[in-house]
Subunit: 211 residues, 2 copies
């Protein structure tokens, strides 16, 4: 078995070179402003479908970066997404990551109303008095909850990263988010995940700092 | 947009039904003993490639379940994988999850030797005096480190879940693990991830408890 000798600090650079090679001419069809996000999602999944699946509203990558620069907090729907986001870098801009999914009050409220904890955790997040980025990698019901909060005027997020994964209402929830007036980065179709949500946040973070 | 009305507690069941439908006749070609793991990985990724990619050594699913039942600890290479594993369920059997990647002594040692923190974190884990399950979803260098520890007699894990994702030595590191005498569950090829590593652990955990 041939092991390529690559220094630890060069592994990511070499990975990105390989991704660029494999993308080949396809890269010319992708918007250069979004390329750092598309590549990082492929880096985190080894799944080139994301070159086709990822959809960006106008200037979404720039809006995401500016929101971070301006100190926005990030709200996730899973501890895993929270865990994957580079929180030390986010803190440099004054932002922090919230995930309310495991909160007792969220669980109690969800049980009472017969809805998901994910949905209730979005309602709790909407009460945060800060500019917010939502990074949703798991629950379509979180996206549907965001849509209701937006429509009722209770929430105006800076941008929604809508990349839940799965089989029940996942495709539909993403299309619904793309029809709001809120900036979005969405992985169209069934694919996505907490890792993808975190990768998109990190892609934006890494354009803002020297690593 | 048509939203399917599914109660929160039924979403996972409905997802698994849809996965079974999509797998179709393919399901007959898969070993029934591994099916709960294959389906849960597809559930976490929406990526049906895993029906082909996942490779199991003899009785791997049973060995993993037995290790958990016997109180084995799980070692991950990322905080994200640790975050995704159902730790409350693991605790019922006396196990806990370790991840040493962010430890200061690991970082210092990695810098000194010019190797990855992932590799050093495996050496630290090998010193745990308990039956160990390794769940590696990110770093091929963690797998290569495990191989060295096994060959030198410093480690004899119960099973290795080898599902790193990426482009530099990822394919090769998995093949190397499959050539050891240690039981394995490996996602052959470039694909995998911390989410996949956690999903495999959770699939085993969920066969052992009523949820």
């Amino acid at each position: 078995m041939n092991i390529e000798i690559v220094k630890p600090m060069d592994i990511e650079k070499r990975s990105m070179e390989i991704i660029t090679e494999i993308l080949g001419d396809k890269i010319k069809t992708l918007d250069e402003k979004n390329l750092h996000i598309i590549k990082r999602v492929i880096h985190t999944s080894a799944d080139f479908d994301y070159a086709d699946n990822l959809c960006f509203s106008d200037n979404a990558a720039e809006i995401l970066a500016n929101a971070i620069k301006n100190g926005a907090d990030i709200v996730t729907d899973t501890q895993m997404a929270k865990s994957g986001i580079n929180k030390a870098t986010l803190e440099k801009f004054g932002g922090e990551v919230h995930c309310f999914i495991a909160d007792e009050d969220v669980a109690a409220e969800a049980k009472k109303r017969g809805i998901t904890r994910s949905a209730v955790s979005m309602e709790k997040a909407a009460k945060l008095n800060k500019p917010l980025i939502f990074a949703i990698g798991n629950a379509p019901t979180a996206l549907l909850s965001l849509k209701e909060l937006i429509d009722s005027g209770k929430l105006k997020p800076e941008i929604i990263i809508g990349v839940p994964v799965g089989f029940v209402n996942v495709v539909e929830s993403k299309e619904i988010i793309m029809e709001t007036h809120i900036p979005y980065i969405v992985a169209r179709g069934r694919k996505g995940g907490s890792n993808v949500a975190a990768a998109i946040c990190n892609a934006a973070l890494y354009t803002l700092v020297q690593r």
